[in-house]
Symmetry: C2
Subunit: 218 residues, 2 copies
Amino acid sequence: MNEKPLSESTEMYLKALAELSAREPVAVARLAERLGVTPVSANEMVHRLDEQGLVSHKPYKGVALTKKGREIASDVLRRQRLWECFLFDHLNIEWAQIYEFACSLEHATAPEVTEALAVFLNHPKTCPRGNPIPEQDGSFEPLNGAPLSEAEVGSVVTALAVNATATDVLKYLQERNILPGREIEIVEAAPMRGPLTLRVEGKEVVLGLSLAEFVIVK
Amino acid sequence: MNEKPLSESTEMYLKALAELSAREPVAVARLAERLGVTPVSANEMVHRLDEQGLVSHKPYKGVALTKKGREIASDVLRRQRLWECFLFDHLNIEWAQIYEFACSLEHATAPEVTEALAVFLNHPKTCPRGNPIPEQDGSFEPLNGAPLSEAEVGSVVTALAVNATATDVLKYLQERNILPGREIEIVEAAPMRGPLTLRVEGKEVVLGLSLAEFVIVK
DNA sequence: GTTGATAATAAGGTCAGCCATAATATTATT
DNA sequence: AATAATATTATGGCTGACCTTATTATCAAC
Ligand SMILES: [Mn+2]
Ligand SMILES: [Mn+2]
Ligand SMILES: [Mn+2]
Ligand SMILES: [Mn+2]
């Protein structure tokens, strides 16, 4: 039933697509940006993935995961987030680093190891970055929230998840206490898509809008 | 101090060299065999490793690790054997499979993760296959034993380690109870390098000499 | 509709690690 | 010393995943 092992690159493209959009097509340029690759390279790779039936690319309309591709992406996310739990809860690795480390381990993890890890961790529902961990069948409840960048001024919201992946960005947010579970008051939004002023844990914090997009709140 | 990340292939060549011989040069052909690669390919790779100063190749005399290469190999072995401990002791993965799974994880493990894992496991000294786990500085006490294939008929020995790597070989030995810690009586050795007849856990077992070479006993 | 931005293709390269086949070189044995 | 086995090198190829620099399509906005 399960095919030959996929390359790390393939798994990362599929995962990036899953993270960028639940279902709507993603522009190849956005995918390229996310993966730190030129648009031409991403285009080539998307073609290869299309030929393998993992992705469907309609020129000028974007790329979307096929059912097969979505299943694999879910599986990669499952591995990644289970490892994040282990690294954070059991190895006491710094929160800002767990994504990076888990992102390496995820590609080196056999199905037996994934499932044994899930048992060891007692089947956690979310990872320390706040994202849901897909079940073995690929199902999971999507987060029911919106980016902090779209929250109304004056409101008080709760951070659900932090979707940044770069370690330095995560460190920056961690230092400002913008972490899953924290209450955040939106004090002010500068005009012309300027930065937000927030109050978190009693302290005022100024946060650029592009960073605020990574923070999912309710 | 630590350089750019090495490829999985590079790490595997270095590890194979460390496993094949503590210090004496190894024939390129043996290395090729161990890695499942043609001798020509191994030769090319050995050249690249030589240029990087990880290995020293004297044509017709074999390859040996340099100090730098040996340090890296020790580090890979450390990662591998720590993962073996985790997989066996905490994830309850079948003994015969832990090598294979750890052999993937070892290349995806950052130094911080390695050390945190060592702490989590309480700094184990040996892995479930019986081999010593190198310290952070690369030091470890080599096993003081000899291959079962060289044990005297009539003697009773204790298995110290099983150095096989192929899962099917490990499974074969596991099924016959040839595991670290077990007492083994050498009942008979067939002539012309024929198989050994052993008594393990009360049962008689016939074991080919080439398999017996994998078992280190005292 | 024309135009400017964006997306996609085409074309030609690089690099690591593999492969096969053929030619040499060395070592070991007789 | 000749010879057979083994090791090494020389060539030439391949694949996946990247790159740069054009060129060409398409879409969206005026
Ligand atoms: Mn990854
Ligand atoms: Mn390995
Ligand atoms: Mn081309
Ligand atoms: Mn060549």
